[in-house]
C-alpha cells in the first residue's frame, strides 16, 4: 500500500470515525449535563429567537468594543472566510466532499483558491506570532492553542505544495496533504477546534439567557 | 486523421508550449546571428495539444531553402520564413515520421557532406579512375 493509498483509505476512514465519534461524544456529553432551571419571571419570552439571533449577531462588529479589538476581529473574519472558501470551493475538495456526502457544488477558479489559501496562511502565521508574543494571549494560551493553529496551517501549506507540485512528487504531496488534514480531523474533537461546533450552543445560550432579562446579547 | 476530426472535440486553448517555444527560437537565433552556437530542439520532447504542431509549422512558415535527403528513408529539411531556423522531419522507409527537430543554425549539420562519406567517395572515385582505360595518370600529391 502506498502512502497515498493509506491516506485516502484507512487513514481517512479512521480519522473521520474519530472526528465524528469524538465530536458527538464531547458535544452530547457537555449538553446533557444538568441544566439550570430558570424560575424567575422572564422580561422577554423570546428565549429561542434571542438565542438564534445571538448566533448571528456575535459575528458582527462589536459596537463600542470594536476599536480595541479591530485587528483580531477582522483578521478573524478574513482567515475564517478565506479558509472556508479554500476548503469548500476548490474543485478537488468538492470531489472529496462528494465522495463522502454524495453531493457536490460548483467550485471557484484555482487562482482564487490559491489566493485565499495564501491569505489564510499569512494571517494564521501572524496570529500565531501574536499568540506567542502578546502578553494577554501568551499568558492564557496552552498547548492546545498552538497545536490547533499549527494543525490548521499545515494542511494549507501542504495543499498549496500539492497544488503547485513543489517539493516532491504529486502523490507524495497529496498524501502528506491528506494526512495533515486527517491529523487535524483527529485533533478536532479533543482541542479547541471544537469551537466550530460549540460556538453555536454557546452563543445561543448567551442570547437566550440575556434575552430573557431583556438584554440584547 | 479525417475520421478523428469528425469527432466534435474542439480544443479551446493550447498547451501553453507554443509561445515559450517561439521565444526559445528567437533567443537561439539571436545567438547564432551574433556568431554563437546553434541549437537543436526535439519536438518529440514537448507535450503538444492536438493540432499544435501544425500551428507551429504554420507560424514558422516556409523559407527559401528546401532540401530532401534520402538516408534510411526520406528526411525533409525546410528552412522556415526566418532564415537560420530549420524544420527537420525524419521519416522511415515507410514514410512514417520518426523524429522532428527545429534546428537554429546557419546550415544543418545533416546537409553538410560528412568527412567519412567524402573519404569513401575519394576511394570510390579512385577505383573508378583506376579501373577505367588507365590513360589518365594520377598524381596524388
Amino acid at each position: 500500500m502506498t502512502l497515498l493509498d493509506f491516506a485516502r483509505g484507512p487513514a481517512l476512514q479512521l480519522s473521520l470515525v474519530i472526528l465524528i465519534a469524538g465530536s458527538l461524544w464531547r458535544l452530547v456529553g457537555t449538553i446533557l449535563l444538568n441544566a439550570r432551571k430558570d424560575l424567575s419571571r422572564p422580561r422577554h419570552k423570546s428565549a429561542l429567537a434571542d438565542g438564534m439571533k445571538a448566533i448571528a449577531t456575535r459575528s458582527l462588529p462589536a459596537h463600542v468594543f470594536e476599536k480595541r479589538i479591530r485587528f483580531q476581529h477582522f483578521s478573524g473574519y478574513a482567515w475564517h472566510i478565506a479558509l472556508f472558501v479554500s476548503v469548500l470551493f476548490f474543485a478537488p475538495h468538492i470531489l472529496f466532499f462528494e465522495s463522502v456526502l454524495g453531493f457536490g457544488w460548483p467550485g471557484l477558479p484555482n487562482g482564487i483558491i490559491l489566493a485565499t489559501a495564501a491569505i489564510t496562511i499569512a494571517i494564521l502565521v501572524a496570529l500565531l506570532i501574536r499568540r506567542a508574543s502578546h502578553p494577554v494571549q501568551r499568558l492564557i494560551s496552552n498547548a492546545d492553542d498552538y497545536i490547533s493553529i499549527v494543525l490548521v496551517i499545515v494542511p494549507l501549506v501542504t495543499g498549496i505544495l500539492a497544488f503547485a507540485h513543489v517539493g516532491g512528487r504529486y502523490e507524495t504531496l497529496l498524501a502528506v496533504h491528506l494526512l495533515s488534514v486527517e491529523a487535524m480531523f483527529v485533533w478536532f474533537p479533543f482541542g479547541k477546534l471544537m469551537h466550530a461546533a460549540l460556538t453555536f450552543p454557546s452563543r445561543f445560550q448567551a442570547g437566550s439567557s440575556f434575552g430573557r432579562k431583556g438584554v440584547r446579547a | 486523421m479525417s475520421a478523428l476530426e469528425g469527432i466534435a472535440v474542439r480544443v479551446e486553448a493550447m498547451s501553453g508550449n507554443v509561445m515559450p517555444l517561439l521565444h526559445e527560437i528567437r533567443h537561439a537565433l539571436r545567438r547564432v546571428a551574433e556568431g554563437g552556437q546553434g541549437t537543436t530542439i526535439d519536438l518529440g520532447s514537448l507535450p503538444m495539444a492536438p493540432g499544435e504542431d501544425k500551428r507551429i509549422e504554420e507560424m514558422l512558415g516556409q523559407g527559401e531553402v528546401r532540401a530532401e535527403l534520402n538516408a534510411l528513408g526520406p528526411t525533409l529539411v525546410q528552412e522556415t520564413r526566418y532564415p537560420g531556423v530549420w524544420f527537420i522531419t525524419h521519416r522511415n522507409t515507410e514514410q512514417e515520421v520518426i523524429a522532428r527537430f527545429i534546428e537554429v543554425t546557419r546550415m544543418p549539420e545533416l546537409l553538410l557532406a560528412q568527412a567519412d562519406d567524402m573519404r569513401r567517395a575519394v576511394s570510390e572515385l579512385d577505383l573508378t579512375l583506376n579501373s577505367g582505360n588507365g590513360q589518365v595518370s594520377h598524381d596524388d600529391h
Binding site: I20, Y170 | A13
Partner: protein, 355 residues
C-alpha cells in the same frame, strides 16, 4: 549482422551513409529522450557498440506487451535496434518450440554467460507452480535459472514490473513481479499496460549505446521516460490550473477538451511518457482522446478504486461506518454525562447529610 561486428561496421556495410547514420543517431537520441546535444556521444557509442544477446521470457501475461512492440511503427529505427540485438529466445516470436526452443535458450545462456540481456513480460505465480510452465519448467525456476547469468533484466509491462493484473486483489495465483524474486541483478522496470513501444526500444537502445542501464526512479523505472507524471506534461494542464473540468464525458467541458480530473483521471499520480511520446505513431494518447489516464504504469492500479473515481475522493468503503461512529460517540457522550450527573447528585446528597 555478425556478432563480432560493431553496429557502425554493420550499418556501413549495409550501405548506410554517414549522413544516414547521423539521422539514425539523432532519432535514437530522441527515442531515449536524450537532449539533441547528446547525438555526438550516441553516434560515437553506437558506432563501436557490440551486438548483445537477448533472451525474452513470457510468464503470466496477455502478450499485449509483445503486441505493443511488434505492431509499433514497423520497420523503423526500432527495427534497426532489433537488428542490432540478437534475440535468441522469444517463445511467441520464435519458430522453434518445446525442447528445441529451450535448447536455444540454454545455448544462448552458455555462450553469452554474464553478458546477455533478459527481458521478461508477465508476472510469476507463487501459488501452484503448475499455473504457468514451459516444457515442464515452472516460471519461477525458469526465471531464477535465466536470471542467474544475465547482465541485466528488463521487466516489460506492469505485470513483470509490479505484478499487474494477475496481482490484483484477490490475486488467485499469488502473482509477483520480477523484482520480488530476483534481488541480485540490475532490473529495469518498463511498466505500462502495455508499455509505450518506443520506451521498450529506448531502453534497449540505451543498453546498446552505453552498455549500462539508465538512471532509474525509486520504482526501478528509467527516469528519462518515467521521470515526470502525465499531469505535468499534459496539454490539458492549463484547464486544471484554471479549474475548468469536464463533469461528464458528453458535456460542454468534455467537448472543449477540459481537464478530466473530475472524471477520475490518474494523470497526477501516474509516471509515464504518454503525454509526450504518445501512441499510434505519436497520434494521440488516452487523455487526447477524451478519457482520463487510468494509471496503468503504476503499481496496483487495478486496486485503487474505480478508474472514474477522482484522486481527491476518499478510497473507503462505507458511510455506514461513519453513522456507527456517530452513534458510538453520542452513546459515550450520554454515558459520560450520566456519570457526571450522578456524581453531582451524590455530592449534593453528601453535603445535605453533613450540613
Amino acid at each position: 549482422m555478425r556478432k563480432d561486428q560493431s553496429l557502425g561496421e554493420y550499418l556501413f556495410a549495409q550501405g548506410v551513409s554517414r549522413r544516414g547514420f547521423l539521422k539514425f543517431c539523432s532519432a535514437t537520441a530522441s527515442l531515449m529522450a536524450l537532449p539533441p546535444s547528446m547525438v555526438g556521444r550516441v553516434a560515437a557509442a553506437l558506432e563501436s557498440a557490440r551486438r548483445p544477446s537477448v533472451i525474452w521470457l513470457s510468464f503470466q501475461e496477455c502478450t499485449g506487451c509483445t503486441e505493443s512492440l511488434t505492431r509499433s511503427h514497423a520497420p523503423t529505427v526500432e527495427s534497426l535496434i532489433f537488428d542490432a540485438i540478437s534475440l535468441d529466445y522469444h517463445h511467441t516470436l520464435q519458430a522453434a518450440a518445446g525442447f528445441a526452443a529451450e535448447e536455444a535458450r540454454e545455448a544462448a545462456m552458455q555462450e553469452n554467460s554474464g553478458k546477455y540481456l533478459l527481458v521478461v513480460d508477465g508476472s510469476i505465480p507463487m501459488g501452484n507452480p503448475a499455473y504457468s510452465t514451459f516444457a515442464g519448467i515452472s516460471n519461477l525456476d525458469m526465471l531464477k535459472e535465466t536470471a542467474a547469468n544475465a547482465a541485466a533484466i528488463i521487466a516489460v509491462g506492469t505485470c513483470a514490473a509490479f505484478g499487474g493484473i494477475p496481482h490484483a486483489n484477490p490475486n488467485p495465483t499469488g502473482a509477483v513481479s520480477v523484482s520480488d524474486i530476483i534481488k541480485d541483478k540490475p532490473i529495469i522496470n518498463v511498466s505500462g499496460c502495455p508499455p509505450i513501444p518506443v520506451v521498450i526500444t529506448g531502453v534497449l537502445a540505451h543498453f546498446l549505446t552505453f552498455g549500462s542501464i539508465p538512471d532509474l526512479d525509486e520504482l526501478g523505472r528509467p527516469k528519462a521516460f518515467f521521470g515526470q507524471n502525465i499531469h505535468d506534461r499534459c496539454y490539458r494542464r492549463p484547464f486544471y490550473e484554471r479549474g475548468q473540468f469536464a463533469k461528464t464525458f458528453d458535456d460542454e467541458g468534455a467537448r472543449l477538451g477540459w481537464c478530466l480530473y473530475e472524471l477520475g483521471c490518474k494523470g497526477p499520480t501516474t509516471y509515464n511518457a504518454c503525454a509526450t511520446l504518445k501512441w499510434n505513431e505519436g497520434t494521440s494518447f488516452p487523455i487526447g482522446s477524451g478519457h482520463g489516464c487510468i494509471g496503468c504504469s503504476e503499481p496496483d492500479f487495478w486496486d485503487k478504486g474505480s478508474f472514474y473515481r477522482p484522486i481527491s475522493a476518499g478510497l473507503w468503503g462505507s458511510r455506514e461506518a461513519l453513522l456507527g461512529a456517530a452513534a458510538a460517540g453520542a452513546a459515550i457522550g450520554i454515558g459520560s454525562a450520566l456519570a457526571a450527573r450522578s456524581r453531582k447528585k451524590k455530592a449534593a446528597a453528601e453535603e445535605a447529610k453533613s450540613s
